[in-house]
Assembly symmetry: C2
Homo-oligomer: 359 residues x 2
């Protein structure tokens, strides 16, 4: 069944069938109805390849997930916990707009060519990139060909510097404010010895969270120690190693700010095994608010990153840019939120209770 068949059956030309399908206004209601009837009767749907070849959009966007984890790491925990809701949200929002989503995993620099390939083969109209280690040069290249891009978690300054032309939206959360809220909450609980379990420094959020930690402590005249600055790379295992090292080293801080929940969960496990109580002996804070954060005991105090809204924004922006002719680089920061649960408490003897802050 092709448009020619529909035309014959409806007693019109292929041109008219096409005009009906594409909602041209200069088709009389009578004709439109006649054609639609035949279309519905035969469940006709135009061949997408033919439409695209004739100049239509693909109505498909590419979602590229750059994964921090190794390809053969079966757990791939970071991705599962953190990205899944994002992927869901992108698909939901795209589908709601009649747009298809082609999802790709990127595990290596070489895989990055997939992005270019998908565009060169004209499989997609636009792209969304999420994950670690974004190869900005490839993206800049594709963007300069005129394809819109939403980029999640990337330095706006670097985008402005590296993307000379193109339609690009950068979607971040306000991790600086989130970090600040968390640290001021801890300081408010009386903590003066606050360690950090940092994330990947080649990641925008990794750097922001770390930099803001340093900044806020400095503002409050609080010093940290080398042994309390742990490098966890956003990965559970690395985090566990670093925490163990700190424990063996001797004196613990009274609070540990972890740059993501995965690492916080890992830290909690190590502490528990070492009979270090949470939050009595040490307060542990996370970042992201992934699903398990509310399930573990003690439930994790963390900073919520609005992944769903970010996904929606990414889709919205990319579709908006698709309809525009001029280049444009836009920056969007969505609000983070402090989520107080049970893994942090007042420093003993500080005379402050957790409750004063949840109210």
């Amino acid at each position: 069944m092709k448009s020619e068949d529909i035309a014959r059956l409806a007693g019109v030309s292929r041109s008219t069938v096409s005009r009906v399908i594409n909602n041209y206004k200069n088709v009389p209601e009578e004709t439109r109805r006649k054609v639609m009837q035949v279309i519905e009767r035969y469940q006709f749907r135009p061949n997408n390849s033919a439409r695209v070849l004739a100049g239509k959009k693909t109505d498909t966007i590419g979602l590229f997930i750059v994964s921090i984890a190794e390809k053969d790491n079966i757990n791939r925990v970071y991705r599962n916990n953190y990205f899944s809701p994002f992927v869901d949200a992108v698909i939901d929002n795209a589908n709601a707009n009649g747009i298809y989503v082609l999802v790709n995993s990127i595990y290596s620099l070489q895989d990055y060519e997939k992005i270019k390939r998908a565009f060169l083969e004209r499989r997609i109209d636009a792209g969304i990139v999420v994950g670690t280690e974004k190869e900005i040069d490839v993206i800049a290249q594709v963007a300069s060909m005129g394809y819109p891009f939403s980029i999640i978690d990337y330095s706006p300054e670097e985008i402005v510097r590296k993307i000379k032309k193109g339609k690009v939206a950068v979607i971040n959360s306000t991790d600086d404010e989130g970090t600040r809220k968390m640290l001021e909450y801890l300081i408010g609980l009386g903590h003066k010895e606050i360690g950090i379990l940092s994330g990947r420094m080649n990641t925008y959020s990794g750097r922001i969270r770390y930099d803001t930690y340093l900044k806020v402590l400095a503002e409050h005249g609080i010093e940290t120690r080398k042994e309390w600055v742990l490098k966890g790379e956003f990965i559970k295992k690395e985090a566990a190693n670093e925490v163990m090292k700190m424990i063996n080293h001797g004196k613990l801080p009274t609070a540990l700010f972890c740059c993501n929940d995965d690492m916080a969960l890992s830290a909690i496990e190590v502490f528990r095994n070492e009979k270090i109580r949470i939050p009595e002996d040490i307060s542990v804070a996370g970042f992201d608010d992934i699903m398990p954060a509310s399930l573990v005991k003690p439930a994790l105090t963390t900073v919520r990153v609005p992944l769903y809204s970010m996904a929606r924004k990414a889709v919205e922006e990319v579709l908006k840019m698709l309809g525009e002719t001029s280049d444009n680089i836009s920056i969007h920061s969505l609000e983070t939120e402090l989520i107080v649960r049970d893994s942090c408490t007042a420093v003993s003897g500080a005379g402050i209770t957790n409750d004063s802050f949840t109210a």
Copy 2:
């Protein structure tokens, strides 16, 4: 840049360029090299729509995720925990074979038309369906048009009955054996009072797990009680309600077999709030082995469903069928595994320890 440009630059015809791209054997090495050089120099990639229109495959499969949860249920917990690894795995395996994946969410019966549409528009070569409430008639219809399908978690008997013709692979896990192993493990621990928190009965795995529970108890001459047969629908909230009802009713069983981990986690939470200790007062077992299962305290004893292998199988089968001409319906059952952790223990006074079974 199109194949014509490459042809001109390489001093050959479009036909020859096409033969090089499609690996025809009757191209002399010399010619092939010459053409490839130009292709690489200009980063040429053939327009996919043109190829498809000319008769090539799309090299894209559709992944359709039927979601039990409501569209506007922000948590959509079931899907996140259970399906995410599956989606990941499908994408990994497809990409590894140079195949793209178009991911679609299905929330309503009406959404089911998306499947038909994707095929009619010739966007995909084959489909994989996962999730609850599979509208088998739509699938049968599409399958009868010759498009291969892998269906996850569906009754083989019903497939054989309803799909008269087509290329279909049904991929299940051995939930019957898994259920049996779990129940015999519990019975071995001395439990004679075993309740069940059942799943969705319009789901194949939901029915199998329930039916096998009844069967195994009967085989062991163990009776259950009406008040211990809870209907959780695979959903945390329903599960919590049912468990609460059972608690209020009075006597508890010594063990509760939950038909998925989400419900088990939910049950554990309710018990904890009611000061009922796990596993001392009641043993709780799950099914699936989702990520949080190993993280909660006590860690959940459960049955592992080999989601990753199932995803790989689904991709493999669908690609295999793509290369075949004849119709074929195949049934595949992948092994489940009993995972003993901390949420189940011997009935007090039974004189049996957990250790006797983990060895």
